[in-house]
């Protein structure tokens, strides 16, 4: 069941890889629910689950390229954490595709809105989410 409303997407980006040279204010206007973090490795499983619980349609994590984490291994830590959390989401009938992690670098941050739009398009192709734990 597809509705016209914009999906609520939470976007985490790493400050060392994404948008650090760009104009923060205009980026913040262009990216709804943007949460820049000092390292994607610091994003807690609980934060991700709370976001879904509060009604997020999807969570997009933009991390640094594999092996290029400023703190050495934040990229691989968040990757592993995301893979296991996806299983928890699936068990609760939340499509694991709603949690995505992409690796790359974009100092200006100009590519972030397009990444979000691409993610929103992919979300639009998924079945409507169920309320966590709810009966259909």
């Amino acid at each position: 069941m597809m509705t016209e409303r914009h999906p609520a997407i939470i976007v985490f980006t790493c400050n060392f890889g994404w948008g650090y040279q760009g104009d923060r204010e205009s980026l913040a206007l262009a990216i709804a629910n943007w949460l820049p973090v000092t390292c994607c490795g610091s994003i807690e499983a609980e934060q991700i689950l709370e976001a879904f619980r509060s009604g997020a349609d999807g969570i997009l994590i933009l991390a640094c390229p594999r092996g290029e984490c400023h703190y050495h291994e934040g990229d691989s830590q968040i990757y592993k954490r995301v893979q296991l959390i996806k299983q928890l989401l699936a068990a609760h009938r939340i499509d694991p595709e709603r949690l995505a992690i992409e690796f790359g670098r974009d100092p200006s941050g100009e590519a972030i809105p397009a990444r979000v739009t691409g993610f929103a398009r992919r979300l639009g192709q998924l079945d409507a989410p169920l309320a966590p734990g709810g009966d259909a």
Partner: protein
């Protein structure tokens, strides 16, 4: 009035429970007999025969303590929990089911309709050609019989009534059980709402912890029936999933002593919001593959990560928590 030395009255009750918690109370042995000298047990369905009307006829707060085990899944559980709450000065949630929803809470990973279809139809051992389903009411010999309503979800006790104290475990160990009952009857009450068990993770008191390398890295995953771990070795260090790092200690390590890894029945350590999420995060951090291909293999080798994360605590988890008021009373 002059019955000056009136014994304190207590109740021991099971909701959606297996009886294991009641067995643990029976295992108090001699201490239970001493307790029975000091208090009057007005209700204990697992062991003694009493009528609910007797409980209904008590004054509010007349019971010094009710020890309640089990989860809340139907309207009878809720009715009894509410009745005993009204009659009791203190309520102890006893065991993983009462504290967190327990293993029955895994049923929340399926929808109610699917559970009913499986149990009364699709399971290979079921013969039900008429497709009978339990009905909330039926007539037998002219009388109407009613079944409790089956709720949409499994709930932990505090989602239904106010709980004063928590004692986790599946079932709780005898020493903590005795300590809890003595403390609660002595009037020297711990901070209300507290969990009457140590605050630190199980690993801190595990004798196998000594064999843990300083930097633990998991490079292979085995299920516990696939390898025999030396009784002094840390399970995680050998690639066997153990929930010790994320689970409250105090169980006495009975599973570890039987060469079986921890499954998390004591719930999260103090202050942790979501036991399963915390465990999966800590497990993810330990996985140390050589490359991405190996990482995929390792992650796939973890059989049912969500099951590990939800085994005892799904109904109180971030994704699983549901208020009982939202559950339908009727079908």
């Amino acid at each position: 009035m002059s019955q000056a030395r009136k014994k304190a009255k207590i109740a021991i009750y099971w909701l959606g429970a297996c009886g294991g918690c009641d067995s643990a109370i029976v295992d108090l042995g001699g201490s239970l007999l001493e307790l029975a000298e000091k208090v009057e047990i007005v209700l204990w369905p697992a062991v003694l025969d009493f009528k609910y009307d007797r409980i209904r006829s008590l004054a509010d707060n007349e019971l010094a303590l009710t020890i309640m085990s089990g989860c809340v899944r139907n309207s009878e559980h809720r009715e009894m929990a509410e009745l005993l709450r009204a009659k009791s000065r203190l309520v102890l949630a006893c065991g993983a089911c009462a504290c967190f929803g327990g293993t029955p809470g895994l049923a929340n990973l399926r929808q109610k309709g699917d559970i009913v279809s499986w149990v009364y139809g699709d399971a290979p051992t079921v013969v039900n050609p008429e497709g009978e389903r339990p009905q909330p009411t039926c007539r037998v010999n002219g009388a109407e019989l009613r079944l409790p309503a089956f709720y949409d979800h499994v709930h932990a006790l505090h989602q239904v009534i106010e709980v004063d104290y928590y004692l986790p475990g599946c079932p709780p160990p005898v020493d903590l059980l005795l300590g809890a009952i003595s403390a609660l009857l002595s009037g020297k009450l711990p901070h209300r709402g507290s969990t009457l068990a140590p605050q630190k993770p199980l690993c801190d008191s595990c004798p196998r912890a000594a064999s843990k390398p300083a930097r633990l890295e998991i490079r292979t995953i085995h299920r516990c029936h696939e390898v025999e771990v030396d009784p002094t070795d840390c399970f995680l260090a050998k690639g066997v999933i153990c929930l010790g790092p994320a689970t409250r200690g105090g169980c006495g390590g009975t599973c570890l002593a039987a060469n079986t890894p921890c499954r998390g029945c004591f719930g999260p350590v103090e202050g942790v919001r979501d036991a399963g999420a915390r465990f999966l995060s800590s497990l993810a951090a330990l996985i140390a593959p050589e490359d991405d291909e190996k990482l995929r293999e390792l992650l796939e080798a973890i059989a049912d990560p969500a099951g590990y994360g939800c085994r005892f605590t799904q109904p109180v988890s971030i994704l699983g928590e549901q208020s009982c008021a939202d559950d339908n009373e009727e079908e």
